[in-house]
Amino acid sequence: MNRQQLRTTLLEELANIAPDIDTDDVDDNARLRDEYDLDSMDAMNLLTAIHERLGINISERDYARMHTLGDLLDYIGEHSQR
């Protein structure tokens, strides 16, 4: 899966969690928590969806360092190549 496909997958999951987000207009560098109002429960649901769809288990410690969609894409890209 290339970065663009990954991005589409993540946006689909983001739309499930936060239907009010316009997925055509998501900035990869905007902070998910602040810009898109994702709380800790939303974040957990997003991590659960990533784990189920992509088989990538992002630990809490790692997630704490990720703030944007771009961070998530970097992490997943890196870990799915292993």
Binding site: P19, D20, R61
Partner: protein, 409 residues
């Protein structure tokens, strides 16, 4: 029509899930009511046989209006084609006055079963619609789809929103299919909800002499325990810090009974169980505070599952009457949004609101030295008619102590 909150004056009966002649059991979902808080599943308050239905679907009636009669099954009347039901409802009301029997009283629920059941599927009787989730029912109604034509993919063949959406998409011209507009919750009216919140909060500030207390709690032990607990678990099994806050609060409420209950008719009534309301922000505006029933008795993973389920249903529709009106005290965790301290407004007829601010590293004096510790500000807004600050201080002290021993939560 049950009162699903102090602020509710009328409700629209959207759908019956029962028909005359059906046997019903206490706690069974029998109808869906649309309120300012969205569509709510209404549970019946007694066992018996549905003898007569007074109010037809899609009718708006005041709180207190009898909706149906439940008895031993001796006098079952089928639903009539012509609507004389309203007249009979009025007659029944007159007969039963001065205190018409309300449909399901917002009463303490029977102990919840092991697993949350977002949608319990009632046995299907002839003449009733197939089992479906409230969101699915509303969507079907909006789109003019007969539920009998939908095949359910949920547990036991229950029709879920996706099943209806699939049919809607199938029917719609392709041009409209990829609609990306923000979808408001089914049955949700932002103006109505704002009005309902305004009414409840005005009443609170008018009637309840609030007192406020706050303290800072060291979270080192709680965070270390949580970090260790979550470390090897997949995301779906992890527990959030909020669940620890809820459990510590619920236990403290159980031993400080003057904070756990309702102030009704100039009198405080203790609640038999700790039904902890959780303030849940709805995307797109508004707020609901449904309850997690018997929160003090639930193990942390179970509490976490309930919380997730509750948040999901609060945002998509499908809360139950007992959850909406059953809270005995409420917790708000606005710290998620970055504020240090929350000064709560009590939701009448409750008498306490507990607020958790943002957990953040802070300088703290530990013994003789200064250390940086994760900490959170916890506040209490309580009703001075029922208790004094002394008790409130003891209560916050217990939350603190409980959070120092997370392994016991």
């Amino acid at each position: 029509m049950p009162s699903l909150g102090a602020d509710m004056e009328t409700g629209t009966l959207v759908e019956w899930q029962i028909a005359p002649g059906d046997h019903v059991h206490k706690g069974q979902v029998v109808a869906v009511v649309e309120t300012a808080k969205g569509a709510i599943d209404v549970e019946v308050f007694a066992d018996g046989v549905v003898e007569e239905i007074y109010v037809e679907a899609n009718t708006k009636v005041p709180v207190g209006t009898p909706l149906a009669r439940i008895g031993a099954g001796a006098d079952v009347r089928p639903v009539e084609a012509e609507g004389t039901t309203a007249e009979r409802a009025r007659a029944a009301e007159a007969k039963e006055s001065p205190q018409p029997e309300r449909e399901p009283e917002p009463e303490p629920q029977p102990r919840p079963t092991a697993k949350p059941e977002p949608q319990r599927a009632p046995a299907r009787a002839p003449g009733t619609s197939p089992p479906a989730s409230p969101a699915a029912r509303l969507r079907a109604r909006e789109a003019g789809i007969d539920l009998a034509t939908v095949e359910g993919s949920g547990p036991d063949g229950v029709i879920v929103l996706q099943d209806v959406e699939a049919l809607v998409t199938e029917r719609e011209p392709p041009a409209r299919a990829p609609a990306r507009a923000p979808a408001p919750r089914p049955g949700f009216d932002a103006t109505e909800m704002r009005r309902a919140i305004a009414a409840a909060m005005s009443r609170s500030k008018r009637e309840i002499p609030h007192y406020y207390l706050a303290t800072t709690i060291d979270l080192k032990a709680a965070e270390a325990w949580l970090d260790n607990y979550n470390h090897d678990r997949p995301p779906a099994e992890r527990v959030l810090l909020s669940a620890l806050f809820m459990k510590a609060t619920a236990i403290a409420l159980a031993s400080h009974r003057s904070l756990n209950g309702h102030y009704v008719d100039d009198e405080f009534v203790h609640a038999d169980a700790v039904n902890l309301g959780m303030a849940i922000h709805l995307r797109g505006g508004g707020l609901v505070a449904p309850a997690i029933l018997d929160a003090d008795t639930l193990a942390l993973p179970e509490l976490m599952t309930r919380l997730q389920d509750l948040v999901q249903r609060a945002r998509s529709g499908g809360l139950r009457g007992s959850e909406i009106s059953g809270a005995s005290a409420t917790l708000t965790a606005l710290g998620e949004r970055g504020v240090d301290t929350v000064w709560g407004v009590i939701h009448p007829p409750q008498v306490a609101m507990i607020g958790f601010g943002r957990p953040t590293p802070r300088p703290m004096a530990i013994g003789d030295a200064l250390a940086v510790r994760p900490a959170v500000n916890v506040s209490l807004a309580a009703d001075h008619r029922v208790c004094d600050g002394h008790l409130g201080a003891l209560f916050l002290g217990e939350i603190d102590r409980r959070l120092q021993q997370p392994e016991d939560l």
